[in-house]
């Protein structure tokens, strides 16, 4: 196992009636890891837990060996892309992307240079002056990615980032994410309910069922039969050797 970027040990968090229960997981540096599960299985809560979103929990989440809650949010160096992208509605695309650079009081010339590079990679040069409310789903998603990536985060967390995209845009985004991963070398943890997407993108896949991380597999072995009935049911397998498409 390569050095762990993310270590989760016996992590549980209670949110109303839902409980994320006893999660144990290691994610290596530069790894792309997908969390797969049905709606309501706790994928987003797991992602937010890694980012240190919750105050009351048991267990540990560590990033590069340091408990995430011991580091102030602004110093965690995590990029976060929400399912609805979480763009700042009162700022233009340019201002959204350069937000982190402005906070760091980076030189305006450097800001422009970095935005131009990012805009080229993600093909968003034409929308830089627009407000998020006027963008399409794909444009919003690429803006959110650009905003997160422009700071070269060590860890990129994405919550169902492709769910609102059409198939052609999705294909394009898979390629762009791989390209981004090659260029920036960041660890990527993303959640999805799309088997194909998880296999296409990830090195390993974790399967979440009812708040529990039931299994972690290599993406090539995703559909392997196992003894756990819940996993087989989720993967659409009712007996060894058969997969329901």
């Amino acid at each position: 196992m390569v050095n762990a970027m993310v270590e989760i040990n016996n992590y549980s968090v209670q949110l109303g009636k839902f409980k994320l229960n006893q999660i144990n997981l290691n994610i290596g540096e530069k790894e792309i890891f997908a969390v797969l599960g049905r709606t309501g299985s706790g994928k987003t809560v797991l992602l937010e837990s890694v980012a240190g979103f919750y105050r009351k929990f048991s267990g540990k989440v560590m990033i590069q060996g340091i408990p995430v809650i011991d580091v102030p949010l602004e110093k965690r160096n995590i990029g976060f892309v929400y399912q609805d992208f979480g763009l700042f509605p009162h700022m233009t695309v340019f201002d959204n992307i350069t937000y982190g650079l402005k906070i760091r009081k980076m030189d305006k010339g450097v800001q422009k240079e970095r935005v131009d590079k990012m805009a080229e990679i993600l093909s968003i040069g034409h929308i830089l002056k627009q407000y998020p409310g006027t963008l399409s789903g794909g444009e919003r998603q690429r803006t959110a990615l650009a905003r997160a990536l422009i700071l070269n985060p060590q860890l990129l967390l994405m919550d169902e980032p492709f769910s609102s995209l059409d198939p052609a845009t999705k294909e394009n985004m898979y390629e762009q994410i791989n390209k981004i991963h090659d260029i920036f070398g960041c660890t990527i943890l993303f959640v999805t309910h799309d088997f194909n997407e998880a296999q296409r993108m990830a090195d390993r896949i974790g399967i979440m069922v009812n708040g529990e991380l039931k299994a972690v597999r290599k993406s090539t072995d995703l559909f392997e039969w196992c003894q756990d009935e819940e996993i087989n049911q989720f993967l659409g397998r009712n007996y060894e050797g058969s997969v329901h498409e």
Partner: protein, 274 residues
């Protein structure tokens, strides 16, 4: 052929009828003041007493609004964004004056500022009872819980995930507040400023208890209405009431204008009602 209600159904027609009843009632209230007050308005502006009450009202309401906002914004932030012991109880105490009659609030203020504490303040040169400082304090105390509640609601409506994202991009809590929370709550804050100011301008009960109603000394616009009505000068009362009404209407237009100006651009703006 059966007759169909295509555009409106019964429920919508009912709501429109009720709306018109409310409009008629409100218009009647406004017209009752305007029609009686306008003939006296010209003379009122030449009256030293009315001019004094307008100046005093504008001054005290503006200072009270400023104090309210300086106290309400941090309090609302603490109530919505921080964790501290007995937060719910604190919130209830802060909002308790909302359900108290203003006369009772004024009486509380009178007791506090007539006590040794009040006397000590007076000796230090800060007179409250029967002084314009008292008007500011009364207007502040009456409006502060309203301002806190409105701004708290405005802050609650800001998606905390945006602040979280802002933090993950390197912003400190102060920077998140300045760049995300405050701009996104700005409509609510502007509306609260205008509403607080209008309410301060119209405050009477608590002010009367704390500073009394002395001509040309503690005579605000509302006190002027009261004093002139008590002495049988209906015309001067109506003129002062019309001045308050004009200021209120201007405030309302300003609130709506700010709301429209700050509306976010959206792909949904051209979509019809469904």
């Amino acid at each position: 052929m059966r007759w169909k209600i295509s555009t409106f159904d019964f429920f919508e027609i009912l709501t429109i009828i009720i709306t018109f009843i409310v409009i008629i009632f409100t218009t009647a209230l406004i017209l009752a003041i305007v029609l009686k007050g306008i003939p006296y308005l010209g003379a009122a502006f030449y009256s030293e007493e009315v001019r004094f009450s307008i100046r005093l009202s504008l001054y005290t309401a503006s200072i009270a609004t400023l104090i309210c906002m300086l106290l309400a914004i941090p309090t609302a932030y603490a109530l919505t964004r921080t964790v501290f012991p007995f937060k719910k109880a604190c919130q209830m105490i802060i909002e308790l004056p909302l359900s108290m009659p203003y006369l009772v609030l004024g009486l509380s203020l009178l007791i506090i500022f007539s006590s040794d504490f009040g006397k000590a303040l007076k000796e230090l040169g800060f007179k409250v009872v029967f002084d314009k400082n008292g008007i500011i304090i009364a207007q502040t105390v009456v409006n502060l819980p309203f301002a806190i509640r409105f701004i708290r609601t405005a802050f609650e409506e800001v998606d905390e995930r945006l602040e979280f994202i802002s933090g993950s991009l390197g912003a400190t809590k102060w920077e998140r507040f300045i760049t995300i929370t405050l701009p996104l709550a700005r409509n609510g804050i502007f509306s609260t400023i205008i509403l607080t100011w209008s309410r301060a301008l119209g405050e009477f009960g608590a002010t009367l208890m704390l500073v009394g109603a002395t001509r040309m000394k503690t005579e605000t616009l509302t006190t002027s209405i009261y004093l002139n009505l008590a002495t049988g000068d209906t015309g001067a009362s109506m003129a002062s009431a019309t001045v308050i009404l004009i200021i209120s209407l201007l405030s309302l237009f300003l609130t709506n204008w700010i709301g429209r100006k700050n509306k976010q651009e959206s792909r949904m703006k051209d979509v019809n009602r469904w």
